[in-house]
């Protein structure tokens, strides 16, 4: 079986269509399970009360915002270096979902900040660097929309994506490098998490749901981009190839 043929946008179009339900349905189920565990099983926090339940959407959204940016930069870089159209299209498809998750993390963070810190927003290192991430996404999307030739738009987008990727470790380590109002990492790569098991379970289930959701919507958007850029992709799909 020649897998390289799926690097062609027209060949990948029907495959992407078949993959979407395999991600969308489990995402919907896991969102339901995660919210159930988060609201019905996880106990009330002794310090923050029920306000802490915002983490079940805030933390996965913040992680997704960062992870999707790294993925977007990787795809944009591959597209640029190897002139791989599908990679560049994938980078474009990832941008809006990444921006959406970053916006959700900023807004839900503000909703969490008001009752716990007494303010909606502070120019804290974590929050400011996340806002910069949002601007990087907006910059990438706007730049691509502003350039008519898709190949030139992909190259320009790749530059902004690759330069901006430096912001991701800054966001992640900002709470360690600077004295910030934002709390430190609750779940660490090394060592035990500092939250109760049901809270951690809800958080991880919601993270898995966000991942699956992202794959489904990115594939949906990728199909739209293929349709826009490849004149005959829809007809390829119709004839079942």
């Amino acid at each position: 079986m020649n897998l390289y043929k799926y690097a062609s946008p027209a060949m990948f179009y029907p495959v992407a269509g078949k993959m979407i339900p395999w991600f969308a349905i489990p995402a919907a189920v896991l969102f339901g399970v995660g919210l159930f565990v988060g609201f019905f099983i996880a106990p009330t926090d002794f310090q923050q009360g029920d306000a802490y339940r915002i983490i079940f959407i805030h933390v996965p959204a913040a992680w997704m915002g960062m992870l999707l940016y790294v993925l977007m930069a990787a795809y944009a870089g591959i597209g640029w270096a190897f002139n791989a159209r599908l990679s560049s299209m994938m980078a474009s498809a990832l941008a809006t979902t990444g921006a959406m998750f970053t916006l959700v993390s900023l807004v839900t963070g503000a909703f969490w900040g008001k009752p716990t810190w007494g303010t909606w927003w502070v120019w804290d290192a974590r929050m400011t660097s996340t806002l910069i991430l949002m601007f990087l996404y907006i910059g990438f999307i706007s730049l691509q929309a502003a350039i008519e030739d898709p190949r030139r738009a992909d190259r320009a987008g790749a530059v902004i994506a690759l330069v901006g990727v430096i912001n991701v470790p800054i966001i992640y380590f900002s709470v360690q490098w600077w004295n910030t109002l934002h709390q430190g990492a609750t779940i660490r790569m090394i060592g035990k998490p500092t939250i109760a098991a049901p809270m951690l379970a809800a958080l991880l289930i919601m993270l898995a749901a966000c991942w699956l959701y992202s794959v489904a919507v990115v594939l949906m958007r990728l199909r739209c981009i293929i349709l826009e850029r490849e004149q005959n992709a829809a007809r390829f799909a119709e004839v079942g190839v």
Binding site: D50, A51, Q231, A234
Partner: protein, 64 residues
């Protein structure tokens, strides 16, 4: 299992506000994508002139 207090201990506005905003963002994203795809398919079906048989041959050439 504990039934959550809908007022979230006085933090209901913040908790439900967060989830409502997230729900709106997700619904908007999915709706706008399906709308975009429908519009594209309509546009392509009205302007496409390449017959399916030609495309099938072209696909076979690519894969062989």
């Amino acid at each position: 299992m504990n039934w959550p207090d809908l007022s979230m201990g006085g933090y209901g506005f913040y908790v439900w506000g967060s989830y409502l905003f997230s729900l709106i963002a997700i619904v908007w994203e999915v709706w706008s994508l399906s709308h975009r795809k429908k519009a594209l398919i309509q546009q392509q079906s009205s302007s496409n002139s390449v017959p399916a048989s030609v495309l099938r041959e072209s696909a076979n050439e690519t894969s062989s």
